[in-house]
């Protein structure tokens, strides 16, 4: 059980890293992009870059807030 937990912790750290919110924003932005492209017919190539820059800024702000 402890071994399983340590493997899980490694993969969480490996994939998600220091700030899980960044991973959530990236996944949510990709999902929203797919919905816009396939359901609304909008070629939303701009959405992911905007969300990524916002997530980076938000994460840096949280990390540097004393």
């Amino acid at each position: 059980m402890r071994r399983l937990r340590s493997i899980g912790a490694f993969w969480y750290d490996f994939v998600v890293g220091d700030d899980w919110r960044v991973a959530v924003v990236v996944v949510a932005a990709l999902a929203l992009t797919a919905v816009l492209v396939h359901a609304a017919g909008v070629n939303a190539w701009w959405l992911l870059p905007v969300c990524v820059f916002a997530a980076l800024g938000w994460s840096l702000r949280r990390a540097t807030r004393s």
Binding site: D13, F14, V15, V16, G17, D18, D19, V22, A23, V26, V27, L30, A31, T33, A34, V37, H38, N43, A44, W45, L47, L48, P49, V52, F53, A55, L56, G57, S59, L60, A63, T64, R65, S66
Partner: protein
């Protein structure tokens, strides 16, 4: 003579894919560890060879879009982690050496494996689709092999000069590259058609770099104004 246009077309198309794979391999090797990077690359080539051997021409039925989506999402998340840490280090909010060797090796192997596998599959797709449509798979193979060889030799040549760049600057550059490729592939996987297709990367990479540099400048200002005895949270909690 009729095979020459086909060889040149496949050469250019495959060179683009090979450069994308080379960027990831160089990024992982220069900032993390070469041995693990080569292990990841070798694993990807073995998997690629096995896929080609088992599937043959039916490889074009593989869900490449889904693969792009997953690899793109992972690379974007990895890249943002690297960028975030590089910016925090550049602005003094995090110590310069704060990662365990085992972690560095895992990241190098995984990044190079994903990049080489995805781009390798795209090269195989190009060879089969172009070669089959012109009824000359042999010529397409020659074009692809020449492209991969030229790009690989270029990578070996530029490796040494790149190794002299300061460590955190390289990590910053790697974060920019991984994030850019992650955004590009992830959005493509989600169904987006990029303006200019692969050439969009030539705009995306500088934009990601400029935004990241902008954040670095913004964070340096309050840092410079603050007394030296007031550390921020990540300096005391970094792993």
């Amino acid at each position: 003579m009729t095979a020459l246009p086909l060889i040149l077309t496949v050469f250019v198309a495959c060179a683009v894919e090979a450069v994308e794979a080379l960027t990831i391999v160089l990024a992982a090797g220069l900032t993390r560890e070469w041995r693990s990077t080569f292990q990841g690359m070798a694993a990807a080539l073995v998997v690629l060879a096995a896929i080609v051997a088992v599937l043959g021409p039916t490889i074009t039925l593989l869900p490449l879009t889904a693969l792009r989506l997953v690899v793109g999402a992972l690379l974007a998340i990895f890249g943002l982690q690297w960028l975030r840490k590089a910016i925090l280090r550049a602005t003094g909010y995090k110590s310069l050496h704060d990662e365990a060797g085992a972690y560095l090796r895992e990241v190098a192997a995984a990044s190079s494996c994903k990049g080489v596998l995805l781009e390798g599959l795209e090269v195989v797709f190009i060879v089969i689709t172009f070669g089959a449509s012109q009824h000359n798979v042999g010529a397409a193979v020659i074009g692809a092999a020449a492209a991969v060889l030229v790009v690989a030799v270029t990578g070996i040549v530029v490796r040494a000069p790149l190794a002299r760049v300061p460590e955190n600057a390289l990590k910053f550059a790697v974060g920019v590259m991984l994030t850019s490729f992650g955004i590009f592939w992830g959005a493509e996987g989600a169904g987006v058609s990029w303006p200019g297709h692969d050439a969009a990367l030539l705009v995306l990479v500088p934009v990601v770099a400029l935004v990241s540099l902008g954040y670095t400048v913004l964070l340096r200002r309050p840092r410079a104004a603050r007394p030296a005895s007031a550390p921020a949270s990540e300096e005391v909690t970094s792993s």
